[in-house]
């Protein structure tokens, strides 16, 4: 099944011609409308007309998350705010979030893209889909929500949390499809077990798992425990949100919506394009986005492109499962967390020392973030409640910035490793 067979089965030459036409257009559009791009082009003497082939894209400078931060909140928009109909945000490297904005056309394009990957994953109009992503500024929930509506399915916007209620809803409302992070999907299965609910009691048949990396082993477990056919999908808010790519029933890479998102893979050291099929950092250019066009955005995600023919009949380029990141961003319970955000919070609290340690574990199927900090202010040793107040204060401040709960542990100074040169503050014990 295809949502848009014309595009999804388009011949390669035709697709490349479409991409080139759109690339030329978006480059000119971004140059003329966004001073940031104009400045970057002018600095190296590049003109929009210099882009004559798809290969010419390598002449364009990269765009990074830092650029979004430096132009916070609306500096990179190509349209007046009046034309913006939706704003989303994700965690940034500093205290400020990364803000993204969509025009009416962008929302249509976005839901088309998500609809395509839903259909590729086996989603149908007759499905009842439970969306167990947190609704809000995060693009995941609303992105999938709109896509499923476009497919014509019945959408249950359950949001995340209150897992027993989630299970009850799934059972009572007859959900046939589940949208969640893979770890939350597994957690739901644990709660089902505790509640004495078997997968046979549910009608679930497919699961779309995204927003964090997953492994074939996790998929096998999701399949065994929830009785779903699980697929992976990929996206990031800076580009659009979910909907960049997704797996089909053959699960041999995620089909990229290449008519909207032009993928490149670059070497993370040299930043030069790698040979076909090699692993490296994924760089994406949005070919049609009006509100926030992104030229050569460095995703920091490590993958490779697969161009051989897929059995499903789609001709689009695929990307492999994400192997990691080329920066220090952590994805915890589907939320982007930068160690620098944590450091910023800790540095703002004088009672604790500058030495800290971030530990990420997976307990059962849920990520647990623990932050070990030293007590610096010795007068707090007068009584326990002062120390407990300190823990509470650190925790609250972290929650405000990170949007997720962390365990804060006070430790003795010498128990944290002292670092020489580049500090290794993060210990990620998760095995994905």
């Amino acid at each position: 099944m295809f949502f848009d067979s014309k595009i999804e089965q388009m011949g390669r030459e035709e697709m490349r011609a479409l991409q080139l036409e759109r690339l030329k257009k978006i480059v000119k559009y971004a140059y003329e409308r966004v001073p940031f791009y104009k400045k970057k082009f002018d600095e190296i003497g590049l003109k929009p007309e210099d882009i004559q082939t798809l290969e010419d894209i390598s002449k364009i400078p990269y765009t990074t998350k830092t650029d979004l931060r430096d132009n916070y909140p609306y500096g990179l928009l190509a349209v007046p705010m009046d034309d913006i109909v939706r704003v989303h945000a994700s965690s940034g490297t500093s205290g400020k979030p990364t803000v993204v904005a969509y025009t009416k056309n962008d929302l249509d394009m976005w839901s088309d893209c998500v609809a395509r990957l839903i259909v590729a994953a086996g989603g149908k109009k007759s499905d009842v889909v439970q969306i167990s992503f947190g609704y809000g500024l995060f693009t995941g929930a609303l992105g999938l929500h709109q896509g499923w509506e476009k497919v014509g399915a019945s959408v249950i916007p359950a949001s995340s949390g209150n897992t027993e209620r989630q299970v009850m809803l799934m059972k009572d409302l007859g959900a046939t499809a589940l949208v969640a992070t893979p770890s939350y999907g597994l957690y739901i299965s644990e709660v089902m077990e505790k509640m004495g609910i078997k997968k046979e009691d549910l009608k679930l048949r497919i699961g779309l798992f995204g927003s964090e990396a997953s492994s074939p082993e996790m998929h096998k477990e999701l399949q065994d425990k929830l009785g779903v056919f699980p697929t992976d999908n990929y996206g990031l808010s800076e580009i659009i949100g979910p909907g960049v790519s997704g797996e089909c029933e053959y699960k041999c890479g995620m089909h990229i919506n290449e008519d909207h998102f032009y993928p490149e893979i670059i070497d993370r050291e040299t930043l030069m394009p790698v040979a076909d099929g090699e692993w490296g950092e994924l760089v994406i250019t949005t070919l049609t986005k009006e509100g926030l066009p992104m030229l050569r955005y460095r995703t920091k995600d490590i993958t490779r492109l697969i161009t051989d023919k897929c059995k499903c009949g789609r001709t689009t380029t695929r990307m492999d499962r994400i192997q990691g990141r080329s920066d220090d961003m952590l994805i915890i319970r589907g939320v982007n967390v930068f160690p620098s955000q944590i450091e910023g919070v800790l540095m703002s609290i004088p009672e604790i020392g500058g030495n800290y340690e971030i530990v990420v574990e997976r307990i059962g199927h849920l990520d647990k973030l623990t932050i070990n900090v030293e007590v610096k202010e010795v007068t707090l040793l007068d009584n326990y409640s002062k120390l407990e107040d300190l823990i509470r204060k650190v925790r609250q401040k972290l929650k405000v910035v990170l949007q997720i709960d962390a365990v804060v542990k006070l430790v003795e100074p010498q128990s944290l490793k002292r670092f020489e040169g580049k500090a290794k503050r993060v210990t990620d014990l998760r095995k994905i």
Partner: protein, 140 residues
Amino acid sequence: MLVNQIAVFLENRKGRVGDFAKVLADNKIDLVSMSIADTKEFGILRAITRDNSKAVKVLREAGFTVTSSDLIGIEVEDRAGGLSEVLELLYIGGVEIEYLYSYARTEAKKAIIMLKVSDIQKAMAVIEKNKIKVLENSII
């Protein structure tokens, strides 16, 4: 009189109390009293030694987080109600007690109580006014 006490931050992990005692032993510092409460993650060890300023110094050098503060040491009659009477007076005098512990001494006729109070000046005024017996310096 005021009794100086040291407070040491300890993580709840194996061998830490022993490490603390060893630092004092290696520096020939005699422990007079010690108390520790158990919590899940960490504890505050409170101790009185024969030489607190030296203890603070050597413990800091050994990497411990240490501070010292003053307690009030009082003697109360070693009978039922002995402590209650004193606490009542402090309560009336508006003194809050953050914590207290008893300090055991062999062959003593009186019980010795160490008090950490919210306001030392205020507490001392109550103590003087009511002629509560405070600890003699020589006892420790």
